[in-house]
Structure formats: structure tokens, C-alpha cells
Symmetry: C2
Amino acid sequence: MRKITLTETVALLLENDNYRILTHTYPDGDTLGCAFALCKALRKLGKNANVAVEGDLPAKLRYLANHYREQAFTPAYIVSVDVAAMSLLGPQVMEGVDHIDLCIDHHRVNSVEADNIYVDPTAAAAAEIIYEIVRYLGVELDEDIAQGIYTGVSTDTGCFCYTNTTERTHTVAAKVMGYCNWKEINNINFVLKSRAKIKLERMIYENMEFYAGGQCAIVYTTLSMQEALGTTDDELEGIASIPRQIEGVKMGITMREKPDGTFKISVRTNDRIDAAAFCARFGGGGHPAAAGCSIEGTLGSVKEQLIRAAEETL
Amino acid sequence: MRKITLTETVALLLENDNYRILTHTYPDGDTLGCAFALCKALRKLGKNANVAVEGDLPAKLRYLANHYREQAFTPAYIVSVDVAAMSLLGPQVMEGVDHIDLCIDHHRVNSVEADNIYVDPTAAAAAEIIYEIVRYLGVELDEDIAQGIYTGVSTDTGCFCYTNTTERTHTVAAKVMGYCNWKEINNINFVLKSRAKIKLERMIYENMEFYAGGQCAIVYTTLSMQEALGTTDDELEGIASIPRQIEGVKMGITMREKPDGTFKISVRTNDRIDAAAFCARFGGGGHPAAAGCSIEGTLGSVKEQLIRAAEETL
């Protein structure tokens, strides 16, 4: 395990061949965008390269593999992209893999066990790093590479809206958008909503409750709601950001019933309210503005505990 | 009336003094962002400059005038920004104005009667033009100028998501974001929702109906709904984009009851369905993907006509 520079990373990619590129479980636009972009760049250098994905590609992101066909070869050099920890590498992705040669990532806390590690936490998306790597590899941009990079930077920043966006994010977008159908990519990732998602949002708005003089908003989904709607895990994850968006709300709490008798709690805060400290009261943790925990009990009893804690905090 | 170049525009701004900068009615982030940014730039050159706004500043955008104080002088040089037609200049803005010296705009169709006209329709926002002007004026960026430009480019492109976004939009954002609190600007313009707006969206989802095998979605707001919710005109305008966002919908129709016994109809389409031709059947018009018309009648009768026309079109 040694930390290496961008130049050393590029040198390793130029020296080796027969790449297997690993993506993280519950693959998102950044890990997949990076993997397919890097794969195409390596193939353009005459090398063999495949992408390893756990399960099926999410339907939304299938366009990333539009021109991709698996190659037949024995993997000799293993690279992970946008993977922060070994636990995020699923069994299918790790099939036949006994060690990782190179880890390319942007997460501040990275615990991947790899021979060589290049982590740049100033990148809003790992795709910003892949953009630089492609440039240093001397590979010309094409649609496959550009759409992978654009998908990574746009999805990891909520279309350039989240606070992790930087000047570099915009600059990378400006460089790649001329080579891909970014209008359709935005439409798929940021505009279109499934009818199940519309119904889910409507239910969320219907059961939203306000406490602490409107400073705390709580919403929930029960198992029977989830079943009735047929929403995906991805769609359920997305609702955590809804309650905090409301004017005057400093703490948005989302409760999601799990089959094991617990509720998965997501807390999002504004105005320097410490979400991690709040969740630590229930044995959870996370970041100052986004944290989580699990609480056992009925909808009523769990909500009761959360309201009491929120009123004490606010 | 003569069309001039960017260089000539900058020369005129350097030569003259005592500026009144005109913004359009129902002022948005682009016209106001441009006006306050240009005003500050001219003041930094030692000139007198004021911004003219019709009515109050929208509450959301008040931050644009955080450091602005009106100066006392007699206006001698009149400049309009982001104004496409004389009818968009309100009586308060035009008080004491008998002619316009300079029109700076980005609308492809511009009919402002001004001595000098600089229109660049390749700019997604007029603020992209103001960015160039500030640079050529030799004025250094500061918070006031940067927040005006960032507000203009981000609001006119739906935070870099709409199809009018270009490489230049991203490049301008990258150049100005280091000088202003763009995180808070995004929060105000793209994240926060009023409780009235949440209620409005919930009502819209509740009354949404699908026709033509799910290809057409129709929503409506009646006068009594609008009154009960207390939503602003701006919030009501925003709902026109909702029905088209749903997967499978090719034509989204929004009906808004007006006090004069008519319904204001907004039509948004995907997949090359001609919204303008659709609205022309009812005496309206517009763009291929976004058009409108007015229809007299009850909710039931107007909806009936729209459904019949939609089923014929799809």
C-alpha cells in the first residue's frame, strides 16, 4: 500500500495491460461513468479492459454501456474507481480477484487495500480525476469517454447544484459536453420521474409533519407503502433530501421502515445543526449536515423519540 | 437603431455617464443579476449608475441589492438588459425615460427600440454577455458583480440543466464562483421551497390525469385552489414543467383558471410533438416544445376540448 501521484497513476496505466475495472455496490453515475470512460480510454491505447459491475446496470444508466462489449482475456491488473472501502466491493465484482493493484478515488476517508492508491479529495466526483487521467494518457475524447465523465460530475453534484461543486467541476463539464449527448443525460438523471416516484413524493408530502415551531419536518415510508408503490431503493434514498428543502426547516428527518422491525433514519440539517451528534444519541453517525441511525420500534414510538430529541436539539 | 459589436458596446459604456439601467417586468434572476452587476461595474469606474425595477424586488432575489444604495443624479444614458421588447418595460422603470440609448440582450427575437443594440443569441443568459463586458471594461470582479452574473447564468439555465446551457455557461460560472456565495444562491433559487409551493405540488399530483395511453398528462389549478394556497404567480408558473417530467409523457398540459372566465393553458412537449401547432388550434402559439393559449369555459368543458385535441395529436 503506497500513496502515489497522478503522474505515477498514469504511468502504471500505460505500463500494464488486461485491466479489470471494479465499481462499488449500488453503482451510481460516478463509479460507472468513471469505469466505462477509463475502460474505453485503455482500449483506445490498444489494451484489453473490462468493467465489473455488481448486479445489473441501473436502468437509467444503461446508456453508459451503449457501445460496450465484454472482451475475453484473463485479468492481470485490477483497478477500482470511486470505491471508498473493501466492503463496497461485491462478490460478483471480486470474482477471481485476489488483490487490487490500483485504487483511484475522491473520498476523503478511503480504506481500500490496494498496492497503489491515488485519492484526490478535492475532486467533487471521481470523474474529475478520470478526466485528468484521460488527458495525461494522451487519449482523445470521444462520446463514450465524455458521457462517462459528464455523468460522473453531474450526478455527484446534483447537476452542479450541491455545495461540493467547484470551479474544476464546471471546467470539466465544459471540456466534455461537446462530445456527448449531455442534454439527454440531464433529462434521464435530473428531469424524468417515474410514476411510482411521483406517487411516492405525493405520499411524502401528505404525511409530512412539522415540529419545534416548523424547524423540524418528519416524513416516513412504511413497508406497506413501499410495496404498494413499487418504488426502487434508489427512489427511496432520494426522499431524504425533501424535508430539509422547506423554508424554515432546519432539521429534516426521514423514517424508512425495514423488514427487520427497525426504522432507518436519515437526518439532514441546515444552519449548523449537528446531524451527526443528533444521530449519535441513537447509536448512529455521519457528517455534520447528513447523518443516519437505526431505531427499533413501531412508527409511533420511533417518531415520538425523534420528536423529543429534535425539540431538545432545536 | 443600429446593431453594434461587443467592442462598440464597451466603448459606449466607457464614454458615457449617469446611467439608468432598465430591467424587464416580472423581473427574474437574469435581468436583475445583469443590472446590479453592470451597475456595480460602472460605479467602480467612478460613474453614476442606478438600477430601475418594476415593483418590489422578488423576495428570493433581494440579496442582489445587499450593498446597493440608490444614487442621486439625473439619468443621461439609458441601458436595458435582458429586455426583449418595449412591452416588457413597465411604467415605473420608464419614468422620465424618453428613449433608450443602449440595449444589451440575448433573445433571438428582440424588438427594443434603442439607438444602439447589442444582441448575442448564443448566450444562454444575458449575464454571459455582462461577464464579457465587465472583463473588457477592465473592472475587477467582486462579490456584487459575481453574484449578479452567477445568478443570471444559473437561473436562466435551471442550474446548468436546461438544454440552452453551453460550454460558455459553465466557463462563466467557473470564473465568478470564487467571488460570491454561490452555495447560498443555489440554496435560495434551486433547493428551498415554500410550504405553499409544497402544498401546490401535492395538489397538482393529486389531480393529475393521464390520457392517450399515458402519453398526455393534464393538471389544473382553479381560482379557489390558488386562493386557498396563497401561492405566488411565480410559483404557479413553475408548475407548467411538472407533467412533462413523468416517464412516458410526451405532452404535459397545465390549466390555470383566470378571473376573467378563461383558462390559461401551458403545453410542454417531448419527442418532436409540436406544442405551437397544438396551441394554434385554440388561437395560441409559441415554441415547438413550449407553447400556450387561452380557452373560455368551465374546467370540465375546457379539459374535454384539450383531451380530444391531445388524442388526435398523439
